[in-house]
């Protein structure tokens, strides 16, 4: 089993390396020169020469890639083109904010989704099941910012329960943080709970058709016990898989939600710098997002293997 995990880890690292090549190559696909693409209309011969020197564009791309990678491993992502500061200085606090928000959302979304899904399986066919089916189909279809602005309009503005601008700084104490980020957290939770809940319900219901479940019913066990103790552990594999995949999707959702609530996180930073053509910053942010995405996909893979004893010890 450890061999399997080791293999998956190695594959993940390889994918991360390939993704870093993609990210770096993504900025080299230009028909023209990187410097003129960055400066666009404000290009003068002096500006161009300065940017070329700053990014070292006279050296071949492969050399620059290896240098960039070497720097990344040491924690040096280069200098931002917008304000000449070290990328890592601006990145670190934003990253902490984003991780906090994502963790806050994940900690609430995952148990909530599993419990709601199990309840839907226990009370299958009832009012709760059918109404939550329609409700989740709708939350899956709508864009995240629609939910976000709904929340702002009705909970923040009309009811005034929570602030609509999530303004946190490095000094905000934990309790205040939890209060200020409640609405963005709720937005993220609504985005991912639907999918996880539907799949939990579907997996459990698929197991309920098995013969041993019929045996449990004939033995007279209460429905909730059958679902929770007998069906659910066997439904874990696809559930873990979809949880990890949804957490990976959370990364994309975080970017949008941060913008809706103007939360000072990695998402708002990246979006801001894309329009300013700040390539080193965008590369660094992209790499972090890609790494998290790959890591979560890897966990989904490993989780699916570990929750199925037949796969744990392949013969």
């Amino acid at each position: 089993m450890l061999k399997l995990i080791g293999q998956r880890l190695a594959l993940g690292l390889l994918t991360l390396l390939a993704a870093s090549v993609l990210i770096f190559a993504g900025t080299e696909v230009l028909p023209g020169d990187l410097a003129s693409a960055i400066l666009q209309n404000s290009a003068t011969p002096e500006n161009l020469a300065e940017i070329r020197k700053e990014l070292g564009l006279e050296r071949p791309a492969a050399v620059r890639y290896v240098e960039w990678l070497g720097g990344v491993v040491r924690g040096d992502f280069g200098h931002s083109l917008t304000n000449k500061r070290d990328v890592i200085d601006e990145l670190a606090p934003r990253l902490k904010n984003t991780v906090f928000l994502a963790a806050y959302a994940a900690l609430i979304a995952v148990p909530l989704a599993v419990i709601l899904g199990l309840l839907a399986a226990i009370w299958q066919g009832g009012v709760y099941d059918r109404s939550i089916n329609v409700f989740t189909l709708m939350t899956i279809s709508v864009p995240e910012y629609f939910l976000g602005y709904l929340l702002i309009k009705y909970i923040a503005v009309e009811l005034g329960w929570f602030p609509s601008l999530a303004n946190v700084s490095p000094q905000t104490p934990l309790g205040d943080r939890i209060f200020l980020t409640f609405l963005p957290m709720l937005n993220l939770v609504l985005v991912v709970v639907a999918h996880m809940m539907r799949l939990t319900r579907a997996s459990v219901l698929a197991i309920m058709a098995s013969p041993y479940i019929e045996m449990a019913i004939l033995k007279g066990l209460p429905k909730w016990r059958i679902v929770v103790q007998h069906a659910f552990p066997n439904a874990l594999a696809p559930v873990i898989n979809v949880i990890a995949l949804n957490l990976a999707y959370l990364i994309v959702g975080v970017v949008i939600v941060e913008n809706v609530f103007t939360y000072p996180g990695l998402g708002t930073l990246m979006v801001d710098r894309v329009s300013k053509h700040d390539v080193p910053m965008v590369q660094a942010c992209g790499l972090i997002f890609a790494a998290t995405f790959i890591l979560l996909n890897m966990i989904a893979d490993i989780g699916a293997i570990m929750s199925n004893p037949r796969l744990r010890h392949p013969r």
Binding site: L22, I152, K153, V157, C285, A290
Partner: protein, 275 residues
């Protein structure tokens, strides 16, 4: 009501109604819009009135007219991108299935690589360098989306390629293009149609999200995503204006999802007597 020979459920009929109305409004926008999309027709942030049904936006343009033109832009652009990504994905997927080993392995590895990164992030990286003009947007999103179409079309084609009539066609000496067009494509239509709906939804939401972040369709073109961003400035003062374009986006995606749900349910039902 029957479509493709199958009875449509209530939800699917609602979905069809929503989609048809949206497409009609998008096509007829220049005819029914009371005002042109970029004209300043009054004070900024005017309230809804019989003259301006949804009120005016942040610089005085009529929101209702912009929503009609926005439908045109968003839906039209998403359709173009989905068609392009479908063309690329289907050709690549079918080729991988028909041509076998090397082509299949090479294409699959490339696709796996592109899929290893979240699409939004990768799009950011490309857009940060190439800018956000329409052709760049179209090609970038089409290429990124074609990876998912590739996966599905390859899987579907693999199932068809092993059937006898394809083998017979190969032995007859038919070319690749002929096999794709005459043997595989007609048999692959049902899952591909459902996938088209899903991809359209995804592209539509993606364009709207990019525009919402300011990186998609640029002013003065109206687009629902950027309208949400503009109109959200006054949401803290109680104006629900941002919910109109956002709600329109939500409504269209829900409608398409209802239809796709029904299509998938119909397709996965057996064709035998017991179905």
């Amino acid at each position: 009501m029957r479509l493709f020979g199958h009875k449509m459920s209530i939800l699917a009929q609602i979905g069809l109604l929503i989609v048809v109305v949206n497409i009609a409004l998008a096509i007829l926008a220049p005819v029914i819009a009371p005002y042109p999309e970029a004209d300043l027709v009054g004070d900024a942030w005017a309230d809804p009135s019989p003259q301006f049904w949804f009120g005016l936006d942040q610089i005085g343009r009529d929101i209702f007219s912009r929503m009609l033109y926005g439908a045109r832009m968003s839906i039209g652009l998403s359709l173009v991108i989905t068609c392009l990504s479908f063309t690329i994905g289907i050709i690549a997927g079918f080729s991988a299935a028909v041509l076998g080993r090397w082509v299949d392995v090479a294409l699959s590895r490339i696709v796996d690589l592109l899929l290893s990164m979240p699409t939004l992030i990768f799009a950011f990286i490309i857009l940060s360098v190439l800018g956000t003009e329409l052709p760049v947007l179209i090609v970038t999103i089409a290429v990124l989306d074609s990876t998912k179409v590739f996966r599905l079309s390859r899987a579907v084609a693999m199932n068809i390629v092993v059937l006898e009539f394809v083998e017979a066609a190969k032995l007859r000496g038919e070319g690749l293009w002929w096999i794709i067009r005459r043997e595989i494509l007609p048999n692959a239509v049902p899952p591909l149609v459902a996938e088209f709906g899903l991809r359209f939804c995804f592209t539509f939401l993606f364009i709207a999200a990019l525009s919402f972040l300011g990186l998609g369709i640029q002013p003065p073109f109206a687009d629902w995503g950027s309208m949400v961003k503009d109109l959200a400035q006054v949401i803290n003062y109680g104006s629900p204006a941002a919910l109109y374009p956002a709600g329109a986006i939500a409504l269209l995606t829900i409608g398409v999802n209802f239809i796709v749900d029904w299509l998938l349910a119909v397709y996965s039902k057996g064709h035998g007597e017991g179905a």
